[in-house]
Amino acid sequence: MKKYLEILKDAAITKNPTFVQLLGMCPTLAVTTSLLNGLSMGVAVTVVLICSGTIISLLRRLIPDSVRIASYIVIISAFVTAVQLVIRAYLPAVDAALGIFIPLIVVNCIVLGRAEAFASKHTPGEAAVDGLGSGLGFTVALALVGFVREFLGSGTILGGTPLELAIPFAKPMLFFVLPAGAFVTLGFVIAAVNALRRASEKRRFEKEKKL
């Protein structure tokens, strides 16, 4: 049990796909115009990560080394197609908002990266937990960027209107919903996470020095 918690923490926080490994930048920039879009994209990627990680781990002794990347891509795209069909059938609004970025999960470097770096070398259980962890880390990152952009750009949280209630006469800044705002917001969010990580590392270093 402890081993699984370790894998989960490692995948979600220590090796956070977005903030630490800087993978999967395209969806992070493109679908984060609102908190809800970011969350739905995160959940879709998490499902694909868990399923493809488990299957790739089960097949890891059968797949020849020379064609492994092609095999991973086929397995991943099968699950992406399944997720896409489910979303299209039951959540048409999400399908419209995320659009082409659902099929593009196939070429998301996080999914292929975890397949190559983790799932192909570990047991199915561990691979599923790693997929869950990476997916959660990615979802939190997307939700954070989506929250900032939606709050500053549209003045809402999950579609409500709290900005104008909190600060009278405050007007949302359209810039943050536009493509340029995506780059700038993500830059500042990653810088803030860097600053926090540096601060916590410094604290740990000083603690160790005292001992």
């Binding site: 082409i100 493509p179 780059f183």
Partner: protein, 197 residues
Amino acid sequence: MITKLLLILFTAIFIENYIFSKFYGVCPFLGVSKDPATAVGMGLAVTGVMTVSGAATWLLYRFVLVPFGLTYLDTLAFILVIAALVQALELFLKKMIPSLYRALGIYLPLITTNCAVLGAALTGISDFEGTLEHFASAVVYSFGSALGFLFAIVLFAGVRKRLESALPPKAFQGIPLALISAGLVAIAFSGFSGMRF
């Protein structure tokens, strides 16, 4: 017909630039834009693969997937076509132009997972579906989008060259500063979006 194709080309390069307005291919864009020379190499390789894959996937969709009612397999079929094309390009360059192969070496396999290539193929079949006349539009669209990618990555490599000598706060070093600069370039590109024909 010619005017229409030119409009598609211009729109794909400037107004709907893949990097700065649609966010396709941002990973290789951030990864390879540190040096102008490699940026040109990567951009050219992507241009070649994207144009050919745009044509191949359109034909595959129209003449295989649609007649057999397999359109829901488009993502899976297209990624296989793209992976095969990249492999073929790799073999071709290795045999015919070894100097270019050595220069591009590590970037070639990366093209398979460049979402710009799959993105162009999927947009090509949804925006230009139907008769063979649309085939030309789809190919020009893929080519123009790839040129837009090349343009963006080379332009931004120049910007990043200048950023090397900048001294930002420690937390902003590297990717955060690059992202914010990309945001400023994107503001310039958003000027094109006012142009409608």
